[in-house]
């Protein structure tokens, strides 16, 4: 049965091999130059705080070089790989055999259909996981200068921390979970619907929905987030905006968490000295650095004075910024938990597929 599965799998195997080869060539050809750019920007020899400026320059300049788009392209391929595998490997695996009637041929050889499915699932599933993770590891290696610069300085454009949506889903071990899940989803959808094209459509819809729901609603809650309140000053990394008539109210978002590099900022908002959320601008601050215009016309601050004076004023009037975040140290815990969730879903789907198999004909 293993040999038959391999024989049937050869088109997919060739496709996977060609994709991997093209991906390898692309990254191997550009990776060394990206690393040398990193060194040329002075990042190879800097220490501690002296790295901040070259790192920020390096990440900001990515957008003007081919490496920014290349990073996005390779990230996109890794994100799409599980979906493509679910659609083109998973969905037809059983559905095509049911459609063409070859399932009857296969099930009348001296091999039980449980073994038939087990072998097909194992070969397809393991290959799916290996191929996706191989793509991910190669791109992680290629992007080491970028992630190093982000760790040394700050993120800009495509260069973001590893907790960012794109990086979390394409680095580490999560691609293994996605690939296993998408493949099992396709197989089971095919077994239930018994026709390849509708099974592909359902696979795509369910997988896409889960890939959107996961980072938005599930991942932030995999562990209870940490809270911290920080001082609001003109030197801080904030994004303030006066709102309401005459700037009577305001919003204030934190951009980074000082002293906690790589943390995943979930939400932020201004609070008063008692820790209550506030949105009313202290009377003394309404005219500080403020044009009086609503934020719809620009950010509402006068040229030259900027938001720094406004932020200082808020700080003087007892306003602090409350942050909710996941610390950087939880990265691998989150990776493991999310991967385990997807693997468990994949196993549950496969188990359901086995249960359904007895009723197929």
């Amino acid at each position: 049965m293993i040999r038959l599965s391999l024989l049937q799998f050869r088109i997919q195997a060739i496709t996977a091999a060609v994709t991997l080869a093209a991906f390898t060539i692309l990254l191997a050809a550009t990776g060394p130059h990206l690393a040398s750019t990193y060194a040329a920007d002075g990042l190879g020899s800097c220490h501690g705080s002296s790295c901040l400026s070259p790192a920020t320059y390096f990440t900001a300049s990515l957008a003007r070089s081919p490496y920014g788009p290349l990073f996005l392209l390779s990230t996109g391929i890794i994100l799409l790989a599980p979906a493509v595998i679910g659609l083109f490997w998973g969905a037809p695996l059983i559905a095509r055999e049911l459609e063409t009637g070859t399932a009857t041929l296969a099930w009348n050889q001296s091999v039980t259909r449980t073994r038939w499915l087990a072998v097909k699932l194992a070969i397809g599933g393991l290959t799916a996981m290996a191929v996706t993770e191989a793509l991910s590891l190669m791109q992680t290696w290629w992007a080491v200068p970028i992630s190093q610069a982000v760790a040394d300085g700050s993120g800009a454009g495509v260069a973001q921390s590893r907790f960012s949506q794109l990086n979390f889903a394409t680095h580490g071990i999560t691609p293994i979970g996605y690939a296993a899940f998408a493949f099992a989803l396709g197989v089971t959808a095919g077994a239930l619907i018994r026709r390849t094209l509708p099974a592909m459509a359902v696979t795509l819809a369910v997988f896409a929905a889960l890939q959107v729901a996961m980072p938005l609603w599930v991942r932030p809650n995999l562990a209870p987030p940490d809270h911290v309140a920080i001082a609001v000053t003109g030197q801080g990394d904030f994004s303030p905006a006066p709102t309401g008539p005459g700037g009577s109210t305001f919003t204030l978002l934190a951009v980074t968490i000082p002293g906690r590099p790589g943390a995943w900022l979930l939400s932020s908002g201004p609070v008063n000295a008692a820790g209550q959320p506030v949105s009313t601008t202290p009377a003394a601050c309404t005219s500080v650095g403020n044009t009086g215009q609503s934020s719809a016309q620009g950010n509402g601050f006068q040229a030259g004075q900027g938001p720094a004076a406004f932020l200082d004023c808020l700080g003087r009037h007892g306003i602090r910024e409350a942050l909710t975040y996941q610390p950087a140290s939880r990265y691998w815990r989150f990776q493991a938990t999310e991967t385990a969730i997807y693997l468990a879903l994949a196993l549950a789907l496969a188990g359901y597929g086995f249960r359904r198999l007895g009723r197929l004909s």
Partner: protein
């Protein structure tokens, strides 16, 4: 004599409709059995239940004394050629022989190669580009070379042209002659069955109307024609299968173990086709006692 297929009150329901219902039969071993009946009689459902492709909704079925498709050993004992004779379109003829060898411990590679050679199939040709007849022959080769004890064929020739049909059945006959093999073959074309079968089961609406060895059936059925008379006045032991009357004449098809002695009748033999048609057109509301009588003599 033991049964290759034995069912008891077997039923299979698809959503709300019953494809097969209360089917009780026993097909003896060592025959080439023709399973014949009109469309919708439940032939395909019965055969798919026998191969384990379907699970029964009700009742029981045993094949060669075991539950169908109970495990690898049982699967190895039964060969099946489905109605559509599906093969893997992208794999070559040689690939099919390889997969047969991989998946069947009892695979007879010499037999498979010999058959492919006789059929003049190119081993390197993709199965998807074979003609319907060649595809059916390839499917039959696969089913045969696993050396089953029972070979089940579901309307294998229904979609073939007359020449391909003849060749397929001829190949089947030769193979059966060489191997010790029971065969169950379904068709709604009696002419096909007449050529190959030595045992006949007529299935109408899940019920066995008549079953028995072809020779015996032909010997015990007669067409009687003579002056008009009431069939009720026939001697005991002469069972009327069909009757038609004109003002002056009666035409009867009767089943009887003994000779027809009444000199008023002109007695002519019946063909297998007449016999099958007679049983298929006969009213289906038999009493349970009568059904018992018509049950398979095994």
């Amino acid at each position: 004599m033991s049964a290759v297929i034995e069912t008891s009150n077997l039923g299979r329901q698809y959503r709300r409709t019953w494809a097969l219902r209360d089917c009780t039969l026993a097909i003896p071993e060592g025959h080439v059995v023709g399973l014949v009946g009109p469309n919708g009689a439940g032939k395909t459902t019965l055969l798919r239940l026998a191969t384990g492709m379907l699970a029964p909704t009700r009742g029981t079925i045993t094949v060669l004394g075991q539950r169908p498709a109970a495990g690898p050993a049982q699967l190895a004992r039964v060969g099946f050629v489905a109605q559509d004779t599906a093969v893997y379109a992208r794999l070559t003829v040689a690939d099919h022989l390889r997969l047969g060898a991989w998946l069947n411990p009892g695979w007879d590679d010499d037999l498979a190669r010999q058959r492919i050679g006789q059929l003049a199939l190119d081993p390197k040709q993709r199965a998807g580009s074979l003609s319907g007849g060649q595809r059916a022959q390839l499917a039959l080769t696969l089913a045969m070379a696993k050396r089953p004890e029972l070979l089940i064929l579901d309307e294998p020739v229904a979609s073939l042209d007359p020449l391909a049909r003849r060749e397929f059945l001829q190949g089947l006959m030769e193979a059966v002659a060489d191997q010790r093999l029971s065969v169950v073959l379904s068709s709604h074309l009696v002419a096909d069955l007449e050529r190959v079968c030595d045992y006949l089961v007529v299935l109408v609406a899940s019920r066995v109307r008549v079953a028995g060895e072809v020779g015996g059936l032909l010997a015990t059925h007669h067409r009687l024609s003579g002056p008009r008379r009431d069939p009720g006045s026939l001697p005991a032991g002469q069972e009327v299968i069909t009757e038609s009357h004109t003002d002056k004449q009666s035409n009867l098809l009767v089943r009887t173990g003994g000779p027809v002695l009444d000199p008023a009748w002109a007695v002519t033999p019946v063909s297998l086709e007449d016999l099958v048609l007679a049983y298929m057109s006969r009213a289906g509301d038999e009493t349970p006692a009568r059904r018992q009588h018509l049950g398979v003599a095994s």
